[in-house]
């Protein structure tokens, strides 16, 4: 048999195989995406009136007309008016009243169904766009975890210390004992979820309670639990009250799952640190279309495929349900004693309040780093929010993000001999320990090793210079003393990050005179900004920055690491001037910082004294101490995590060390790197043996690191796109509103078809199109939304991908050039001391 016929055979067998699916398979097929969508379509187009709506209308009829109708009557009134007249008459109601009832019921049902259909369509539209983007370990794709992995491969330790975009350290863990206790925990959770979609009679058609629970615990149960002790009765009355309801049994089961998973992590050889986010595989309950995501911080539930939104609540039946539970489902008693109460509509509700800070997606570990959850960086604002050259967005509309206010002009530190590669922050592990371990006392014998230009001695004193923490100048032996006072305004908890701050100063002065810290305003500000930035980023990592209560113009502002550093740097340079234009008084910022640190004291187990801080030094401070020795000195060992950034740090420091310490022209060591060893150095011709090719750096194309434009939220544009699509569909130019594009019968009449039957059918179709163009619009809206989302992705990712490609190209060029490095075979012949190009004396 030929290969193609073999494949066709298999395919045809597949085609035919649907004739005889077993019952179990048929049931499983009902749980698929397509079959669920088909069921929704059938319900929307063909089904009976939904039970919720029927009960709501039944209740209104009872209260307004004092007539009792059955639930079936509502469906009949809406779908088969003629039959309703008969039923109504059989109940002894006057014919004229029956006609009025039928008309009112039909209108009411149509309105409510329209709202529900619109809600479901919008949910499907947004759901189809959002569902693949999950922070958990995926449903249809898992994008976030690989991004975290990518970051780990690229980032250096220095980046982590000085990059204000907080690094989210992500790892994955397997489910512990999947067939035993884990399965038990999830089974109990499933029972709690089943209780939301089942009643005494088995599975119920109404998914509203499950939908509300999914919406409530979508971003984890811990935020809901933090609202206070659980009370299922709390929820208020109103159309949106289900959004604030709680399900205590479900919360308990979620908590049990989290406890079980979290306990498994403590058994790891290296338990996760506080900043690490550990993802567990996402669990699936396929029959109820729900998944359970879990991390070491939280557990939550989500739809696998989001098809059912939380719809406006029509009937408050909580007392009725409680009664049913307490009275063995005695419906007659409960419905007479606690009848469900309709929630009246008809009035425009106030718009819902904006979500509180750091809740929902902004409370998730990765989502909180997105542009929706924080003001964007100052240097990115101009690109992001000023497409027409205006720095301020104008007009009305929804703005998804804003610039950090105020726009800061932060100082930039320049060193004497070019950039100090990875000069701040710790990127190495400790391989060259100091001559003796540091202790809280003064240790004059703590001297640098042969691999380092300096050693650091942190000591506690009640009389530090200038009254606060102070970094001494490097003394003749290379020792840099760091004086830490007994308290800072009564706080000792601040010492953990204060030591970090002073160690940055030690890094800055290890190979430089202390004047770079205090020489003038620019030196001071740039040095202090760096030190404070490292400190403020540490605050952000520890959750202290988010807790800082700073107000500006009467409103609490979100303190970013840059704002924190820029404001506080003025504090340290106040004798020389002002470092930034921050409108926050530095003293106020400092006070807020101290208070926030004190509030986190027990949570983070912060130091209780200076000696405690020195003896229990923070790992970030230890990393800086480990990075003080020179990286490339012969017979000195360097060890670091194998990342691209750290490797580049090492290469960069080796090159820098070579230029700063070695003299390419032999035997002529100058005082400073840039100095000439002899007056005629500058007139010496090109080194004949040197590689005459252009240096590799000139071949590099610097990556375009411009921030990609932030996506605009422009519903008007989307509506226009839809209009254009609709008008194109009907062969007309774009018009708004799209009803203007309704098909015109005259167009059909002017172009008659040859077949009269086709002509008649087309005319009928034209009339229908004209009658309800909104149906066309509604049908197409999801596709327009999808295309819009695709375009958004392309815009966003295109720029990033280009930058990545350029970085790869640059790396390839550098690596290729390194392999081409050639060393001269003969010694330089400039030893005769003559200078052929010595300029003649004037």
């Amino acid at each position: 048999m030929r290969r193609s016929s073999f494949i066709s055979g298999i395919a045809l067998a597949l085609l035919l195989s649907f004739g005889a699916v077993p019952a179990d398979s048929a049931r499983a097929a009902d749980l698929t995406l397509y079959m669920r969508l088909k069921t929704i379509s059938e319900k929307q187009v063909l089904g009976d009136v939904e039970p919720d709506i029927a009960a709501y209308v039944q209740s209104l009829v009872q209260s307004q007309y004092d007539d009792t109708l059955a639930l079936d009557d509502i469906s009949v009134a809406a779908r088969a008016p003629g039959a309703f007249q008969g039923r109504c008459g059989a109940r002894g109601i006057q014919a004229s009243k029956c006609a009025d009832l039928e008309r009112q019921i039909r209108r009411l049902v149509e309105r409510e169904e329209r709202v529900r259909k619109l809600g479901r369509d919008l949910f499907l539209t947004t759901g189809s766009y959002e569902v693949p983007l999950s922070e958990s370990l995926g449903k249809f794709a898992a994008v976030s975890p690989p991004l975290g992995s990518l970051l780990t491969i690229w980032e250096s330790g220095s980046d982590r210390a000085v990059n204000p975009d907080a690094f989210v350290h992500t790892t994955a863990a397997p489910l512990p004992d999947p067939d035993g206790k884990t399965e038990d925990a999830y089974t109990e959770l499933k029972d709690a979820l089943d209780a939301l979609v089942e009643d005494a009679g088995g599975p119920k058609e109404d998914l509203s309670e499950l939908a509300a629970a999914v919406a409530r615990y979508r971003f984890g149960y811990t935020a809901v639990r933090s609202e206070g002790s659980c009370d299922a009765a709390i929820g208020g009355i109103g159309e949106l009250s289900q959004l604030t309801q709680r399900w205590c049994a479900l919360e308990d089961e979620l908590h049990d799952v989290w406890n079980h998973l979290h306990a498994s992590l403590t058994a790891r050889p290296l338990p996760p640190d506080s900043s690490e986010v550990v993802f567990f595989p996402t669990w699936l309950f396929k029959d109820i279309n729900v998944v359970v995501w879990a991390t070491n911080r939280d557990v939550g539930i989500e739809w696998e495929i989001p098809l059912e939104p939380v719809l406006p609540w029509l009937m408050d039946d909580r007392e009725y349900q409680t009664c049913m539970e307490e009275n063995n489902d005695d419906e007659a008693y409960c419905s007479s004693r606690f009848p469900p109460v309709p929630i009246p509509g008809g009035a425009l509700l106030n718009p819902p309040d904006p979500p509180p800070f750091a809740t929902g997606v902004c409370g998730m570990p990765l989502g909180s780093r997105g542009f929706l959850c924080q003001p964007i960086e100052q240097h990115e604002c101009a690109i992001a929010l000023a497409p027409n050259g205006s720095s301020n967005a104008t007009g009305t509309g929804l703005y998804l993000t804003s610039c950090k206010e105020p726009i800061l002009q932060t100082p930039v530190r320049m060193s004497f001999a070019g950039p100090d590669v990875c000069g701040v922050g710790g990127w190495r592990m400790q391989t060259e320990p100091a001559s003796e371990p540091d202790n809280p006392g003064v240790q004059t014998g703590l001297l640098p090793t042969q691999c380092s230009n300096c050693s650091v001695d942190i000591y506690c004193s009640s009389s530090c210079p200038e009254g606060g923490a102070y970094t001494d100048a490097r003394d003749a032996s290379g020792r840099i003393g760091i004086c830490i006072p007994e308290t800072i305004q009564g706080s000792t908890a601040i010492f953990q990050t204060l030591i970090l701050h002073e160690l940055v100063h030690a890094q800055q002065t290890c190979s430089n005179p202390r004047e770079i810290l205090t020489g003038d305003l620019n030196y001071c500000c740039s040095s202090e900004y760096q030190a404070y930035l490292v400190q403020c980023i540490a605050f952000a990592e520890d959750g202290i920055l988010q807790d800082m209560q700073v107000t500006h113009q009467g409103k609490r502002i979100n303190v970013t690491p840059e704002l924190c550093a820029a404001t506080l740097s003025t504090l340290s340079c106040s004798s020389l001037g002002q470092c930034s234009e921050s409108p926050i008084p530095p003293a106020e910022m400092k006070q807020a910082m101290l208070e926030a640190v004190e509030r986190s004291k027990s949570r983070l187990n912060l130091p209780v004294s200076c000696a405690d801080a020195v003896n229990r030094m923070d790992t970030r401070s230890k990393a800086i101490l480990a990075s003080l020795p020179k990286a490339c000195t012969p017979e000195c060992r360097s060890e670091f995590e194998n990342t691209i950034g750290n490797n580049l740090c090492f290469i960069g420091q080796c090159i820098e060390q070579s230029w700063e310490e070695e003299r390419i022209v032999p035997g002529r060591m100058s005082l400073n790197v840039g100095d000439e060893a002899f007056p005629w150095d500058s007139c010496i011709g090109a080194e004949p043996a040197a590689n005459t090719d252009l240096p590799a750096s000139s071949l590099l194309m610097l990556p375009t690191l411009a921030f990609p434009p932030l996506p605009d939220y422009r519903p008007w544009d989307i509506a226009n796109s839809t209009d254009i699509a609709l008008c194109q569909l009907l062969g007309l130019p774009a018009r708004t509103p799209p009803t203007l594009c309704a098909a015109e019968v005259s167009r059909q009449l002017s172009r008659p078809l040859s077949d009269p039957l086709d002509m008649m059918i087309n005319l009928a179709a034209s009339v229908e199109d004209q009658l309800d163009p909104a149906v066309e619009l509604e049908r197409m809206a999801p596709n327009v939304g999808t295309r819009y989302a695709t375009s958004l992705y392309r815009t966003q990712l295109g720029a990033l991908r280009r930058a990545f490609a350029e970085i790869f190209d640059g790396a390839a060029v550098m690596l290729e050039e390194i392999s081409k490095t050639s060393f001269p075979e003969q010694a330089c012949s400039r030893v005769d001391g003559t200078c052929p190009f010595l300029p003649s004396a004037p």
Binding site: R3, Y34, L648, I651, G667, T790
Partner: protein
């Protein structure tokens, strides 16, 4: 039998009056053709022909007939359902949510993943891909399914235009299968009316739900496809990053030698003029033989 002719006439008239039942506010992708309903023919004949090439044999075994009408919807929705599920992928274990398609590592050089084999089977029954390629890719899924939908709608419309005639013909053929001598169905017309009403309702229902259901599924599949491309790109960048990391790690190892190289080169470069074995002043004497050199460390001859 004039009464029978009268009934036929009434049936045809009612059929024409009912002909517009398929009208729905959905656009048609193209005109319906007579070949459209071939998608709902019994595929076993085509398979038999492909396998054996013996028309007489295949015609006798699998007469070229369309599938029974009551199987159309099952076949159509079943096929679409299977394609969508193949597209989304299966969960590796029942309790884990992550769906995976295919096996083995992601390809960073291939444009798109292969589509479900069912897509090829469906496509080969449709006119645009009748002689199409054997392999279809994920990006072909939406066009094939949309064409399949159009053909399905066309088939329904075509049947609805002559529904009573089709039912009559089918029932008549079914009646011929009765053993000889037995009388035909005494309620023949009653049966036709019942079938007509049922099938008419069925066609109306299918025309109402088929397109919105597929379009919603395609919207969903579109975003999943887009995100999977993103996921694949990310994984490929990750692999490239590991290569770059290893290359830079080797470079870092090499860079560790730089100070040592300079240290080694410095003494070489410092060779004094009186120790370089050269006649630097062209006076015919070299190094210590030159009168200008008192020792090997002298820098001038």
């Amino acid at each position: 039998m004039p009464w029978r002719l009268l009934l036929i006439g009434m049936t045809l008239t009612a059929g024409l009056a009912h002909a517009a039942e398929w009208e729905q506010p959905y656009p048609k992708l193209g005109s319906c053709t007579k070949k459209d309903t071939i998608a709902f023919f019994d595929p076993r004949y085509a398979q038999c022909m492909e396998d054996t090439g013996d028309e007489a044999y295949c015609s006798s075994l699998y007469p070229v007939t369309s599938l029974p009408f009551d199987q159309w919807a099952t076949t159509y929705h079943g096929n679409i359902n299977r394609v969508v599920e193949d597209f989304l992928g299966q969960t590796e274990e029942d309790h884990l949510a992550l769906r995976r398609r295919g096996s083995g590592p992601v390809s960073c050089t291939q444009q798109s993943d292969r589509a479900s084999p069912l897509i090829a089977a469906i496509a080969h029954t449709l006119e645009p891909w009748e002689n199409g390629p054997a392999t279809f890719y994920q990006s072909d899924t939406a066009p094939v399914l949309l064409e399949y939908l159009r053909v399905y709608e066309c088939s329904l419309i075509e049947r609805s235009l002559s529904l009573p005639i089709e039912i009559w013909r089918e029932e008549d053929a079914r009646g011929r299968l009765l053993p000889a001598g037995l009388p035909g169905n005494p309620l023949f017309f009653m049966n036709i009316w019942v079938l007509w009403a049922g099938q008419s309702e069925h066609i109306r229902r299918e025309m109402a739900i088929a397109r919105p259901t597929l379009e919603r599924a395609l919207s969903f599949m579109g975003t999943v496809h887009m995100t999977r491309m993103l996921e694949r790109d990310t994984e490929c960048i990750q692999r490239a990053s590991l290569d770059i990391r290893n290359a830079f790690a080797l470079s870092a190892d090499t860079a560790a030698c730089m100070p040592r190289i300079w240290n080694a080169k410095d003494p070489l470069r410092n060779t004094p003029a009186c120790a370089d074995n050269l006649d630097n002043d062209n006076d015919g004497a070299t190094d210590l033989d030159d009168t200008g050199c008192d020792s090997l460390t002298d820098m001038t001859e």
